[in-house]
């Protein structure tokens, strides 16, 4: 779709950015020591830290990614909300207080508290950097997605803008400014998301959504087919001419037809004897991109997402709905979802989106994105993939570096626990809202099919430019805050873990802060490059990978250090290396990466799983146990020999 920026949106956005920079400037004067820079001096009140936790956690993946995934895949997107919140149970019940007790500035401190091992310092710091970078990618992609509708700038400009602002935030005041930016953003995100859900309920659902009268509903038409054979299709309406049938593998049939000078692509439904209107993006051999046969500015490419019938009525609307009647209305109707088919033609390609009427009860049950029903063709690997994703989400939260460092910003272990509880309440409430935001977008005719990450902001836009501007600015602040936290974590890993402790450079307090700031700038630049490279991937899906890497590399070490006395430093090192490399290796060899990153079409990847956690997490645990037993035994034997001699 064509995005036209509004001056009002730009003003609200700028107010947000200026406020965030002023917070950083205010705290910059107080941030002189490394304790202040890396851990906000350990003086943040638990209630502020709790909302800041929510700010850290409710990243672009939660707000943009989950809402977008629910908007196109229904309930399967909500699985992320459930898994993300479940992960906090591990954080609260197992990790929170011990992490606070054992650590100082970074996750590496806590792992290394018992051992003082150079190996742990090195691998834990590397793991922190890798996980942070993996988590940074979707945030940057989300930033790029946001600036296009908000400011009318290209994707790369959004990525560079976020990168630059975040570098300023982190390089000036470190964790203190990051905490207050997160607090502000976390609070506002929850309040305004709740407002948006009430607006969705208040408007109700209609079979012809027109965005409050702002955008006329496009009624997708069908053309009657008189005769259809393998080689020929005859249409009833003679004003249309069949140009040719497009070559497609499989049973679907698409025709290029013309009316006057205009050509369009239609899907043939043999059973109903009709041609169905599609949406299509044509990339010509010379690189020109056309949307439904026209330039982007022509606005011929429509926003999608509506219900074709409500309780059997194809032309109706409801009144105001509530938490229950909203779900009930969708359950009893049919939602028009859209499938995608890429077709090669004349040296270029057509990306064709065609209608897929889906019963509401299927939209509200699992299975549209993740195949789990054997009767619908799900294979064993599909089911294992689903379990693997849910495992990664459950175990990943408590192993994310930017979450772990927030335990060091509060004064004591009890405050760490209390701030986690505030976070769980705030995050849990928000995740309940995501279901309604996503489904609201699904039936309100607001989805940009080329970029599902924009579902929630575009839903806001359908209620007016002010709420859109506020929601977009908050979403942008969401990215800013989360990226800031991740960069603080990464800069701590470089300056504190690697330079100060592993390399033994004995940096003084001021030099350590300076090194942290330089590291922040470097990580920020790398994040910008990755954000541009990964454009177009669903941010929630990418975050699923970050969780898998964190769960595999970090969590086994944390859990075993806390609960297994025979854990050795070598066991921890081996576990982190195996968890990290196996998770990364499995991701890089997966079908998703082959298709979406390497753009290898029709190539079967060696790894059938999209999420590696189910293999890499047990492997990491097993490695830790075996290596610890082996090295402890060796130590005992050596000790016996020494005592005998």
């Amino acid at each position: 779709m064509n995005y036209v920026p509004s001056p009002w949106a730009i003003v609200i956005f700028l107010i947000f950015v200026v406020s965030v920079l002023m917070i950083s400037y205010h705290f910059a004067k107080k941030t002189k020591s490394s304790a202040n820079y890396f851990a906000a001096g350990g003086n943040i009140h638990w209630s502020v830290n709790g909302i800041a936790f929510a700010g850290d956690y409710l990243s672009a993946a939660s707000f943009l990614g989950i809402c977008g995934m629910i908007a196109v895949s229904g309930y399967d997107g909500f699985l992320y909300s459930i898994g993300y919140l479940a992960g906090w149970m591990v954080a609260l019940f197992i990790v929170a207080e011990p992490m606070k007790r054992m650590g100082k500035y970074t996750f590496t401190d806590a792992l290394d508290a018992k051992f003082n091992s150079k190996g742990i310092q090195l691998v834990a710091a590397i793991s922190t950097l890798v996980v942070s970078l993996f988590y940074l990618i979707p945030q940057m992609v989300g930033a790029g997605s946001l600036v296009t509708p908000l400011l009318g700038l290209p994707h790369w400009a959004g990525v560079v803008m976020v990168g630059t602002i975040v570098i300023i935030i982190v390089a000036t005041a470190g964790m203190t400014s990051t905490t207050y930016v997160q607090f502000l953003k976390g609070g506002l995100l929850i309040i305004f998301s709740m407002t948006l859900v009430f607006m969705v309920f208040s408007r109700g659902i209609t079979t012809s959504p027109d965005q409050g009268g702002d955008v006329p509903f496009h009624n997708y038409i069908t053309l009657k087919v008189l005769d259809s054979t393998k080689d020929k299709v005859v249409l009833e309406d003679k004003s249309y001419q069949v140009v040719k049938e497009l070559p497609v593998n499989g049973s679907l049939r698409f025709l290029k037809i013309s009316k006057g000078q205009e050509e369009s692509i239609w899907k043939l439904d043999d059973k109903k004897g009709v041609l169905e209107e599609t949406l299509f993006i044509t990339t010509l051999a010379n690189g020109t991109v056309l949307y439904n046969g026209g330039a982007k500015e022509d606005n011929r490419f429509y926003q999608i997402g509506h219900m074709s019938e409500l309780g059997g009525d194809t032309n109706t609307k409801t009144g105001t709905l509530n938490l229950f009647s909203f779900i009930d209305t969708i359950k009893k109707g049919t939602v028009i979802r859209w499938n995608k088919q890429v077709i090669a033609d004349n040296g270029g390609t057509h990306t064709v989106y065609y209608q897929n009427p889906t019963p509401g009860k299927d939209v509200l049950s699992p299975g549209l994105k993740y195949k789990i029903d054997s009767e619908k063709g799900a294979k064993t690997t599909d089911k294992i993939d689903f379990i693997s994703l849910m495992l990664a989400l459950f175990l990943g939260t408590a192993a994310l570096p930017h979450i772990l460092i927030r335990y060091y910003t509060v004064p004591d272990p009890a405050s760490a626990r209390k701030s986690t509880i505030v976070a769980i309440a705030a995050i849990g409430f928000f995740y309940c809202l995501t279901l309604y935001l996503g489904l609201g977008a699904m039936v309100s005719g607001v989805i940009d099919i080329t970029n599902d990450n924009m579902a929630a902001p575009l839903l806001a836009k359908s209620f007016g430019v002010t709420i859109f501007a506020v929601i977009s600015a908050i979403a942008f602040a969401t990215v800013l805050g989360t990226v800031s936290g991740l960069i603080v974590a990464a800069s701590g890993a470089v300056a504190h873990d690697l330079m100060d402790r592993f390399l033994g450079m004995n940096l003084g307090d001021k030099r350590k802060v300076f090194a942290g700031k330089i590291a922040a700038v470097a990580v920020g630049i790398i994040a910008m490059i990755l954000g541009i490279l990964f454009k177009g991937m669903n941010v929630s899906f990418l975050v699923g990978w970050a969780f898998a890497v964190a769960a595999s590399a970090n969590l086994p070490a944390i859990i075993m250090i806390l609960f297994w006395k025979r854990t050795t430093a070598q066991g921890v090192i081996a576990s982190i290396i195996v968890g990290l490399t196996s998770a990364l290796g499995l991701i890089l060899l997966s079908q998703e990466t082959f298709n979406n990153l390497y753009h290898l079409v029709n190539v079967t990847a060696p790894v059938p799983l999209a999420n590696p956690a189910i293999i890499s997490v047990p492997l990491s645990f097993l490695t830790l146990i075996l290596v610890s037993l082996y090295t402890a035994k060796k130590k005992t034997l050596n000790g016996t020999i020494v005592s005998q001699s």
Partner: protein
């Protein structure tokens, strides 16, 4: 040896909190595993109506609400245990 952030006062309630944490964790884990198992073994069950909602949404929202309830319960018991046991310990030290 690397030093922690600061020296904490001895927390006499830590073993109670740890035990409670593990029990609540396993309680939640069982409910979470139940959710995954039903999804994989009997996805159709997830589509059964529960009033205006269905099993999938009721169970999913239920997991979120259960997490919040358990978190508050854990904090309530932990804070109470800290107050009781750590104050007792302080009183004993003062008496000696």
């Amino acid at each position: 040896m690397h030093e922690p952030a600061q020296e904490w006062k001895k927390d006499s309630a830590s073993s109670i909190k740890e035990l409670l944490g593990i029990w609540l964790f396993f309680l939640y884990l069982i409910v979470y595993i139940g959710f995954i198992v039903i999804n994989v073994v009997s996805p159709k069950f997830m589509g059964i109506d529960v009033g205006s909602l269905n099993v999938a949404i009721t169970y999913g929202l239920g997991l979120i609400v259960l997490a919040i309830i358990l978190a508050f319960a854990y904090n309530h018991v932990s804070s109470h245990a800290e107050e009781l046991l750590n104050n007792d310990q302080r009183r004993d030290v003062e008496t000696e």
